[in-house]
Each structure stands twice: as structure tokens, then as C-alpha cells.
């Protein structure tokens, strides 16, 4: 390679470029290979420099210095997998490379041509290695303009930059074209400023060009202060010459002769590499006087920031370069008129400048062919947070958010659910899962209350509290507010105080409205962009996650389990019923089973039931999972309840007045019986009306005995009856009695918990044939009557627990073949993972992505079901991929079809008569805390009156029953007497300094398939005492010291 010296013409550039290109042609011939090692900031932090020196040592020790070259490149993108490298000859990508891998890379790969699979990227679905970089989804789906050289060249080598057509656009522009030509190409390209606001770049340049002045300035904003954005850093580190060239072209267009790059002090490596690049450019005559023999003169200097976020604002940045406090000033005059030292000045962002040489090289029209109508080109996003592939990605503007998160980012780690993406940093907003399909362009994001900003894209999962996020951003802007204008200085402080209060369990009604009012005032009256956008994160989270704010303020509950003031332990917070999980788990650890059970029943009467059927949201939030796996809370509960000999009844407070107050409960399911239980503990004697012959609701009617033995349930119901609850069976609302009769009959309050016993019909042809039934009917008939007709070959339609209960019951009742067909993917089946696993063991065929089209009927009987295979399309409002039909059909032969597509209220007309307020989902509207309906004496809960986005589960029913009991008592007496809600001190032994015990999570033993397939014996078995105690000790006791 020829070292570049003074370059005065395009010919000089070509000589240098050819020499580098010739060297590259030698790879695989005279030169064995070249290793492109990522030395971006991320990979350096992961140890890529140690990898480099190991590689150098290995090459030296073999005397191959002339045969194997190593180049330190800029950022390749997938930062979380660093250190990464690419071999130039075959484009093989290796990740997570350690110094120990150096010898094997040299010997096996470089010298013998053998691919080291262990270090390759793995295909997400098949886990098979994908060695070639261009085959990897993460790279394949990107379009690189800004990052065209990052990872391809040595950022410190001006020669390598020139070999990729670098400085050719500048040379052409200054020798062949006018400033107007440059501005016109920029106009054709349609590029808008990448710093955040999206102002058309050509317009800024044109203003400055037209302002006559002897001195003008070109500034580059590299004060990338938005937390979560690191694209500028990567460009500066990976391709500094592109910034120099972009600025020089801009300077030529506006007539500037001096430029400054304002880099933040947190990026020492970027400063270092940019300085080297500037020095080299100056040596080669690319900066300085008479560039490429023209009249054009331009020089560049770096100015380092000193840690002030506000300096990202253009007027503040200018003050800072002038050596002053970095405070903004009102505009106009705009910098294009009066900027640095009062002279016309253009300020653009790093990413904007990186685009300029590409636009001038290939033309504005070429650039405009990327992107959307109003937003052209590509955008670099810094993908971080709860995402599998974090790093830098560049995509055409207008790419849907979901594609970046799922196709490039490969989704959310640890099977957590996507909650929101925060875009645009402290000035931006969040995008909830309903909007995963949003095109990432300036306008669409504004419509959602977010901004493109500089491109920081932070993915948040279900464990993120949106109120806490808003508080975090406000704390940030409050600290960074320069203090010059009052709305920003004082207003953000007041907003922060309100948010801190909410997160600390001291929120009051009206706080949300106050935040909105303050936010709008600050937005409208602040001096600069920092203040004007400061309220965005708050306003945006209120807009999309208002229910979380409400839940913090009224229910005193943080659903993500984050806010310390509201969360004692994440598991307890995650339990809808608020069971003291660390309490009972630690008591089990000390073999104090009776105490543990009493503590559990303080908040949930159905300990033994929930030990079998609970969805265990507690385990999803268990902090132990950050070490290995969650504590087996449900299995510990199972062991605990199995030790119960005499029934453990918690405290009951007798009350003569309450005992005389008549209260009715309609429906003896989990919710109704829980309300009865808690009312009884306050001294009431509630009457429970149940339409079926046996109490228990869904627990007895649909959940099969192999999951929940009937005696287990009966025992807990007897316990509730023992507290003075009168259960009257075979009493159906609307048939045997009416609501008005109850009130006229001296009942002072009524709790409606009739559940969703109706089945949603699937309206496909043939669904009225003989042999078609619903899961509800099928299960209820068997469970209450003891027998039900079962086909030989059964197809169940649906993916919820009811579908699996029906399928597994059918197998037990003699069906030879059972298949479950479900429209969406298996990962999206709402059924519990345990149930899916056990069903598969029992030989049930799972057919996800299969849509039933028609039930085939012969002689009035089912003979098969015609289905269409589905594939996953774009994201729908639930944040799941919408299944779309493929152009194929197939038929499954069967003689019975069981439909399990959903449930609804059995006879809603009862409510119409009394004018009860319902919403479209046929859900009774109730107060979120008291469960009071639009009729003061009537309360409702459970599946018939779901609050917010709660699941229709047993534990949610229990929680609703408890809240309603407290609400009814408050309605009847005027005050709250829920004594069981007080925190119980935990007196078990715990050493906070000790290391967590090393035992892994154990599974519950299961009955073998051949011993369970033909009967309804309970499948899950309990642990030994030694195992249970060991498992209990795995708890990290997050409640300790709270």
C-alpha cells in the first residue's frame, strides 16, 4: 500500500485507492487472510484488545506476519455479542471471541479453512450455526449508508477510506461544482437532520449560504447526550473521515472556512480517533488551504464537552464552544444568521454529516429512493434494553418497529413480554405493543407522542414500570436543566416531586391531571428544546399507560414490581391476591407448616386449590431467576398444604351488628366464595346462591380431577362454610330468583360473581352438526354428571386451558386420537406451559398455526375438519403477530370436534333489565378498588367483571372477591376493616450476608404417562420434606429489611 501524502487531484486519490484495492485482491493469494476485528467502544469493553494481542502473538510465533493481517475496525453492530470479528476472505463472522480462541482461529480457520462452529452466530429457530456474515438475519435486513464503512475499514487509515471512494465527492465538488449544486443535491435527497427535530438539511445550508459574511462556521454536534443513543459514537470511532468529508462539503456549500466538532467528554476513544483522522487529513492537504487545488479553504478543530446535556441544544453548544456557560438563548436570530461569535453558522449532527459524502457520490435521487415519501434515506438506531440482539442497526426510514425488535433484534430475552419501546431519549416518548406496526418515520412517531430523536431505541419488557421510567427521565432533565428559564427549572422539579410521591406510595387523586397540566405548560413556555420536550416521557406514558399511574395511586400497586415504596417483595406484589410469599416460603423452610398455611390463608382461602391450578405470576417475578431459576413457589405451596391435618382457619372477628346485616353472593366460584370468606371474617353471615348442584364454579365444573382432586376442593369449601357461610345450590339467577327480589328481601348488598359460563360459538360451516360441542359443555357434562360422549378421533379447537382440559379429558375417556388445532403459534397459546408439556407426553397432537375453515359433515355427523395452514404476518394490537392464511387446505379426519375458543356471560339480558353499566366485551363495569357497579348496592367481580387487563384466572377471582368484600363492608359500615392486609412481621432466621444456597430449582414429580392416561388420578405429586425445605431456602428474601 502506498502511504497517502499531499493529495491535490482526483488522480492522486485514484492512485491511493488502487493501491489499497490491489492489496485487498491479494487476500487468499499472496496474503492468506485478513482479520477484521471490531474495536468499537462496545467490543473494547468486552475485551477485544486482549483478543487482538493474542492473535498478534499467535501470528508472530508462527512467523506469519506477512501472511495474516489484522485490522482494528469500528463498530460492526451486534455489541452484546462482542468481541466480534470477520475474516476478509470468506466473510466468516465470529462472536464472543476470547484470547484463548486466538490459536484455534489461526490454525483451524485461517490455515486449514475449517469453520469454528462454536464461535458462529446461531440461527434463532434451529440453533444451527450461520457462519457467513451476509447470511445472518441481523445483518441481512439492514441497509447501510451511514455505517457503510464501519467494520469494513481501519478507521485510522485515510488510505482505506479513500479506497472506498472516500474524499472523491469532496474533490469533485470543490473542483467541478458550485455551492448551489451541492445544496440542490441535498434538496433532491430529501435528507432531514438526524439530530432529532428532522429539519431539512438543505434549507439550513441554503439560509447560511445566502447570509453574506466574511466568516462562517460549520459545526458538528457530537454531544450525543441522550441516554441510550450511541450511533454518533460509533460513526466517530468507526469512520471519522466521513465526518470530516461531510463537514468539508457542507462548509464549501455555505462558504465556511472553519469548523468545530463538539464531542462529549464521555467518548475519549472517539476524540482520539477523530483527532488522528483530522491530523492525517491535514497532512494530505484535505484540510487546510486550497483543497484539491481549488480556492476552497477549510480547517477543523475538536472541542470537548464537559458534561452538560443542554449543550446538545444548538445555541447552548455554540456558547460552550465560545468558552461560556452552556446556556441556550432565544431564537431568532437562528444560528444560520447569527451563530458562533455572531457569524452565520450551520450545526448538523454526526449522522447527518456521515450521509453527505454518500449523497454527493451517488446523487440525491439515489438517496431519495430509500425511506418514505416525507422521510428519506436510512436511520441508525441504537437498540438496547430488554432485547436479545442489542447494538447498532441501520434501516430505511419507515421500517416498522416490530421488524426491528423481532426480526433484527430477535425479540425479548427470558420469555418476557414486550411492553413498550422508548424512542428519542428524554425528549421522546414510548410506543406500546398496540403500535408495534408503526413505521419509524418522523410523522408517524409524532402522531404517537414520541419523536425520532437521535435514534436511541430502548426496549422495555413487562418488568419495567412506566411510572418509574417517567420518573427516571424527569430526574434526568431536572438535573440537566440549565436553570435559565423558570418553566424548565421549577416546573420539572414540581413534576418530579409528584412522580416521586406516586412511586413512594403517596400518590393522591388528581396527580395525573396535575402532571398533564404542568407538562403542557412547560412544553409551551420553555426557552429551548430541552424544556419544551422535557415533559414528553411523562405525557407519553400517561397517554399509553394511564392505568399504571392509576394503579399506583388508587390501588397502591406497582404491577411491574419496581417501585420500592409499593413493593415489599416482587413475588408478593405480582400475586393478585397479595399473598405473603416470602413469609410462607420461609416458614416452610423452618418446617412451621401450620403457621405458613395460616399466613397464606390471610390473603387467599384457596391455598390447596391454588397449589394445583395457580398460574403463579409470583414465579415470573422471582428475583432468584437472575441467579439461576425462580423459586418453585407453587410446588412449595403444594408441599405445605399436603401437611395440613386439622384445617387451619385464620383470625375471624365476630361482630353482632354485621352478623345481622344480610349480604347475598351470587355464584359459588373462586370469586364468590372468597368474598364470602372475607366477609365472614368480618363477622358477616353471607348467603351464597349457586345455580349448579355443586359449589366451586369452574373449579368443579371444568377443571378436571387429574389437576384438582375433588376432595381437595371440597375441604376448602367446607372450611369456608364453617365460618358461617350458607351455600344454597340449584338456585339460578333469573330462574329461581331475581336481583330485585334479593333487595326487597332485606339483603343490604349483593356481590355478583356468576362467571362466564357461556361459550363463544365459532361461526364456521358445520358447527351445528352432531358431534360438535363446546369445551364448556363437554367438561361440565362430564364433571357434574359423570359421563359424556367421546369420539374415537377428537379435534379440539383453541389454545387455552379449557382446550387442554378437554383434550386431556378426552384421552382419559377413551379417545384414540386427540389433536389440538390453534390459529396462532405454539408460543402464544394461553394455556400454562406445564399443561402443554403434560398433554404432549400423553400423546396429544399439537397443531399450531392451523385455522379451522369448515367442519365436514356426512349424514348430519362430523367426519372431519378442513383447515388452512397459517404463517405469521404483521403485528396486531395485542402485540402478537397476526396469523395469515397460506394458500393450502387439508382435512383432519375426526368424529368429534370440541370448540374452546372463548367464554362469555351466559345470559346478559338479566342485566339489561336493571340498567347495569357494561362495556362492549360484555363485562360489567366496576370500580377498580371497591368493585361497586353503577348500582350502589350491587358489587361484581370475577370473570363477569374483569378490572383493567387482569387475566381470567382463579387467583384474579380470589383477589376480586377480597377487594369486593372490603368494598361492601365499607359501603355498609362507612369504613375499611381489612385487618388481614396489615403486614405480618417475619420471625424466621435469615442471614442477609450469606451467599444464596446453590441448589437448582427442582421439578414436581409426575405420575408416569401409562399410570395416568386411563384415569383421573392426580398427575402432579408432592416433594419429600427434605426437598421442600431445601427448595424453600432458595428464596432470596427480598422482603428482608423492607
Amino acid at each position: 500500500m502506498i502511504k497517502a501524502e499531499k493529495l491535490t487531484s482526483i488522480i492522486d486519490l485514484n492512485v491511493i485507492g488502487d493501491s489499497v484495492r490491489n492489496d485487498n485482491l491479494k487476500i487468499g493469494k499472496e496474503v492468506t487472510d485478513k482479520i477484521l476485528l471490531c474495536a468499537g467502544g462496545g467490543c473494547i469493553a468486552s475485551g477485544s484488545l486482549a483478543v487482538k494481542s493474542a492473535l498478534v502473538d499467535e501470528i508472530k510465533s508462527r512467523g506469519l506476519e506477512d501472511k495474516i493481517k489484522i485490522v482494528e475496525t469500528g463498530c460492526l453492530g451486534p455489541c452484546s455479542r462482542g468481541p466480534v470479528l470477520v475474516t476478509a476472505k470468506d466473510k466468516i463472522f465470529y462472536q464472543g471471541v476470547t484470547p484463548d480462541d486466538a490459536s484455534i482461529i489461526i490454525d483451524k480457520h485461517i490455515l486449514q479453512g475449517e469453520i469454528i462452529e462454536r464461535l458462529c452466530w446461531k440461527d434463532e429457530a434451529t440453533q444451527s450455526p450461520v457462519p457467513v456474515i451476509t447470511d445472518i438475519e441481523f445483518f441481512k435486513r439492514q441497509t447501510k449508508i451511514v455505517l457503510r464503512n464501519c467494520g469494513e475499514i481501519d478507521p485510522l487509515s485515510i488510505e482505506e477510506y479513500i479506497a472506498r471512494d472516500g474524499y472523491l465527492p469532496l474533490a469533485k465538488v470543490v473542483t467541478e461544482h458550485s455551492p448551489e449544486y451541492v445544496i440542490n443535491e441535498m434538496k433532491k435527497s430529501g435528507i432531514r437532520g438526524r439530530g432529532g427535530a428532522g429539519f431539512p438539511t438543505w434549507m439550513k445550508w441554503s439560509f447560511a449560504q445566502k447570509n453574506h459574511s466574511d466568516v462562517k462556521y460549520m459545526l458538528c454536534n457530537a454531544d450525543e447526550g441522550d441516554p441510550g443513543a450511541f450511533m454518533d459514537r460509533s460513526v466517530l470511532e468507526g469512520d471519522p473521515h466521513s465526518i470530516i468529508e461531510g463537514m468539508a462539503i457542507g462548509a464549501y456549500a455555505i462558504g465556511a472556512s472553519q469548523g468545530y466538532v463538539y464531542v462529549r467528554a464521555e467518548y475519549p476513544l472517539a476524540v482520539e480517533r477523530l483527532q488522528v483522522a483530522i491530523d492525517r487529513a491535514r497532512e494530505c492537504g484535505i484540510l487546510g488551504k486550497n483543497i484539491f487545488g481549488s480556492e476552497f479553504t477549510f480547517d477543523l478543530e475538536i472541542r470537548m464537552g464537559s458534561g452538560a446535556f443542554v449543550c446538545g441544544e444548538e445555541t447552548a453548544l455554540i456558547h460552550s464552544i465560545e468558552g461560556k456557560r452552556g446556556e441556550p438563548r432565544p431564537r431568532p436570530p437562528f444560528p444560520a444568521e447569527s451563530g458562533l461569535w455572531g457569524k452565520p453558522t450551520v450545526l448538523n449532527n454526526v449522522e447527518t454529516f456521515a450521509n453527505v459524502p454518500a449523497i454527493l457520490l451517488k446523487g440525491g435521487d439515489w438517496f431519495a429512493s430509500f425511506g418514505t415519501e416525507k422521510s428519506k434515506g436510512t436511520k441508525v438506531f441504537a437498540l438496547a434494553g430488554a432485547i436479545n440482539n442489542s447494538g447498532l442497526v441501520e434501516v430505511p426510514i419507515g421500517t416498522p418497529l416490530g421488524e426491528i425488535i423481532y426480526d433484527i433484534g430477535n425479540g425479548i430475552p427470558n420469555d418476557k413480554k414486550f411492553k413498550a419501546a422508548q424512542i428519542g431519549g428524554p425528549s421522546g416518548g414510548c410506543i406500546p405493543k398496540q403500535n408495534l406496526n408503526v413505521a419509524l418515520d418522523y410523522e408517524s412517531l409524532n402522531d404517537l407522542g414520541a419523536i425520532m430523536g437521535s435514534g436511541g431505541l430502548i426496549v422495555m419488557d413487562e418488568d419495567t414500570c412506566m411510572v418509574d421510567v417517567a420518573r427516571f427521565f424527569l430526574e434526568f432533565v431536572q438535573e440537566e436543566s440549565c436553570g435559565k428559564c423558570v418553566p424548565c427549572r421549577v416546573g420539572t422539579k414540581r413534576m418530579l416531586e409528584i412522580l416521586e410521591r406516586i412511586c413512594d406510595n403517596k400518590g393522591v387523586e388528581g396527580d395525573i391531571e396535575r402532571l398533564i397540566e404542568l407538562g403542557e405548560q412547560i412544553r409551551d413556555t420553555s426557552l429551548c428544546g430541552l424544556g419544551q420536550t422535557a415533559p414528553n416521557p411523562v405525557l407519553s406514558t400517561i397517554r399509553h399507560f394511564r392505568h399504571e399511574y392509576e394503579s399506583h395511586i388508587t390501588k397502591k400497586h406497582c404491577e411491574a414490581g419496581v417501585c420500592r415504596g409499593l413493593v415489599r417483595a416482587p413475588c408478593q406484589s405480582a400475586c393478585p391476591a397479595g399473598v405473603d410469599v416470602p413469609g410462607f416460603v420461609s416458614l416452610v423452610g423452618e418446617r412451621r407448616y401450620a403457621e405458613a398455611l395460616r399466613l397464606h390463608r390471610e390473603r387467599n382461602p384457596f391455598a390447596a386449590v391454588c397449589a394445583r391450578v395457580c398460574f403463579h405470576t409470583c414465579e415470573d417475578k422471582c428475583r432468584r431467576s437472575t441467579i439461576d431459576e425462580a423459586v418453585s413457589i407453587r410446588a412449595l405451596k403444594r408441599f405445605m398444604v399436603d401437611q395440613e391435618i386439622t384445617i387451619q382457619i385464620p383470625e375471624v372477628r365476630e361482630n353482632a351488628k354485621n352478623a345481622k346485616t344480610k349480604v347475598a353472593i351470587i355464584g359459588a366460584g373462586p370469586s364468590g366464595l372468597s368474598a364470602a370468606y372475607f366477609l365472614a371474617r368480618l363477622g358477616y353471615r353471607p348467603d351464597v346462591f349457586e345455580s349448579e348442584p355443586r359449589p366451586g364454579g369452574m373449579l368443579v365444573q371444568t377443571i378436571p380431577a387429574y389437576r384438582l382432586p375433588r376432595e381437595t376442593l371440597a375441604r376448602e369449601i367446607r372450611m369456608i362454610e364453617g365460618l358461617g357461610v350458607d351455600i344454597r345450590t340449584n338456585k339460578k339467577l333469573g330462574v329461581d330468583f331475581s336481583l330485585s327480589e334479593l333487595i326487597e328481601g332485606d339483603y343490604k348488598a349483593v356481590f355478583l360473581a356468576i362467571g362466564n359460563a357461556g361459550s363463544i360459538e365459532l361461526s364456521i360451516p358445520g358447527s351445528d352438526a352432531k358431534g360438535v360441542t363446546t369445551a364448556m359443555n363437554f367438561l361440565r357434562t362430564y364433571n357434574l354428571r359423570g359421563s359424556v360422549p367421546v369420539g374415537k378421533s377428537v379435534v379440539v379447537v383453541g389454545g387455552g386451558n379449557a382446550a387442554f382440559d378437554a383434550a386431556r379429558s378426552a384421552i382419559r375417556l377413551g379417545a384414540e386420537k386427540v389433536a389440538i388445532v390453534y390459529r396462532r403459534g405454539q408460543d402464544e397459546m394461553p394455556a400454562y406451559v406445564e399443561e402443554i408439556d403434560e398433554a404432549l407426553q400423553e400423546g396429544i397432537a399439537l397443531m399450531p398455526l392451523t385455522n379451522p375453515e369448515e367442519i365436514m359433515v356426512e349424514d348430519g355427523k362430523v367426519v372431519g375438519i378442513r383447515c388452512t395452514p397459517m404463517k405469521l404476518g404483521e403485528f396486531d394490537r395485542s402485540g402478537r403477530r397476526r396469523p395469515i392464511k397460506e394458500d393450502k387446505v387439508f382435512v383432519i379426519d375426526c368424529d368429534q370436534v370440541i370448540l374452546a375458543v372463548g367464554q362469555n356471560i351466559e345470559n346478559p339480558e338479566i342485566f339489561e333489565k336493571i340498567k347495569l353499566k357494561m362495556n362492549n366485551n360484555e363485562n360489567v363495569i366496576v370500580h377498580a378498588v371497591t368493585h361497586q357497579t353503577s348500582i350502589p348496592w350491587l358489587f361484581a367481580g370475577g370473570d363477569v367483571a374483569v378490572v383493567g387487563n387482569a387475566d381470567r384466572t382463579v387467583i384474579e377471582g380470589v383477589a376480586a372477591g377480597e377487594r369486593a368484600a372490603v368494598g361492601m363492608d365499607e359501603y355498609l359500615t362507612g369504613s375499611n376493616h381489612a385487618f388481614w392486609r396489615e403486614e405480618r412481621p417475619n420471625d424466621t432466621l435469615f442471614d442477609p450476608g450469606a451467599e444464596p444456597v446453590p441448589f437448582p430449582r427442582a421439578k414436581m414429580p409426575l405420575l408416569s404417562v401409562d399410570r395416568r392416561k386411563n384415569n383421573f388420578n392426580e398427575v402432579e405429586q408432592t416433594w419429600t420434606e427434605a426437598e421442600a425445605v431445601r427448595q424453600a431456602k432458595r428464596c432470596l428474601r427480598c422482603d428482608y429489611g423492607h
Binding site: G228, R303, G307, E322, G323, R325, G385, E480
Partner: protein, 178 residues
């Protein structure tokens, strides 16, 4: 006479010596437009912080009112008028690090070093600060010890991390002695 350690050469030098070094360096900044902030950055690198004597010298030499110099110093968070620890530990609380547990890392450090944010340990070894995004979001949570970035830091590994620097210091003292 106060003694301090030169940040660059790690040798004991007197403040007078440092001030005379600064005087030489400041010649480059006298006529530089907007040279005050770069001058302060150089001075802070030299002293490890900005003592009053250095600020006075900068004020005189650059012909700027002392009030203007301190006004600039107080505005930017990078400038410190108090001596900092030899190792400045900065925990990133940028968005990505925050949602990945940066807060827990910070509280673990506070416990380990027994100082709060902005503080310096009595032995002068460590200072604790928070940072707002180091641009290593893909590796969150991160912290920086001086200019070295540590990635994916876990709260329960803090003792080990700090221990590494403590050992480093013990070895330095031994080397000097031996």
C-alpha cells in the same frame, strides 16, 4: 507546602511545580478563541481537580474575571473543585443501564465503598459518581473506572471489582517499598 500526585506521571510533585507547568501550557490558550474550557480541561487533567490556585492562575493568564471562570466551572459537571479519588467510579444510569439494573449496581457500590454519590473514600482511592450514558448500551449495565469500561456488571460482583483495584494499589505500594 502541600504535596499531591501528578495524575500523569504518578510522581509526588508540589503544587508549585504543577502551577508552573500549567503556566507553560496556558501559553497555547491565551489567544485561542473560546480557549477557557479547553484550558480548564487541561488543568483538571494535570491536578486531578481544579484547585483555587489553578483557577486564579487561569483567570489572570487568560485575562478573564475570576467570576467568569468559576461560573463556567460550576456549570459543567465534569469540573470538580474538590480532590477526587485516584479511581473515579462512574455508574451509568442512562436508560438502557437503568432498565437493566444500574440502580442496584449503584447501591451495591455505595455499600461497598461506604460513600454516597459525589463522595470520595477517606483513603483518597475511590470517588463515586453517576454517569448519563457512556454509549455502551448494548452491554448494559456498565460502569467506568477512570477511562476503563466494565460491562454487564452484576451487583454481587462489586466487591470483586473494587477488590481488584484495591489489590492493584497494595501491589504498587509494595513495589515502591521493595
Amino acid at each position: 507546602m502541600s504535596h499531591s500526585q501528578c495524575q500523569e506521571c504518578q510522581k509526588e510533585v508540589t503544587e508549585e511545580e504543577l502551577l508552573s507547568q500549567l503556566d507553560g501550557i496556558l501559553d497555547d490558550y491565551v489567544d485561542k478563541p473560546g480557549g477557557l474550557i479547553p484550558a480548564l480541561q487541561v488543568a483538571q487533567k494535570l491536578f486531578g481537580y481544579l484547585p483555587k490556585s489553578a483557577l486564579k492562575q487561569i483567570s489572570t493568564k487568560l485575562n478573564k474575571p475570576y467570576s467568569e471562570v468559576t461560573g463556567v466551572v460550576s456549570f459543567y459537571s465534569f469540573f470538580s473543585t474538590e480532590p477526587r479519588g485516584k479511581y473515579v467510579v462512574r455508574v451509568c444510569l442512562g436508560t438502557a443501564c437503568y432498565v437493566r439494573g444500574g440502580k442496584e449496581v449503584l447501591s451495591s457500590l455505595q455499600k461497598e465503598l461506604e460513600i454516597s454519590v459525589g463522595g470520595t473514600t477517606p483513603d483518597g482511592l475511590f470517588s463515586l459518581d453517576i454517569g448519563r450514558c457512556f454509549g455502551a448500551c448494548g452491554l448494559a449495565p456498565v460502569l467506568m473506572v477512570n477511562e476503563e469500561t466494565h460491562q454487564r456488571v452484576k451487583p454481587d460482583k462489586i466487591t470483586e471489582l473494587i477488590g481488584f483495584y484495591r489489590d492493584l494499589e497494595v501491589n504498587l505500594i509494595k513495589e515502591k517499598a521493595g
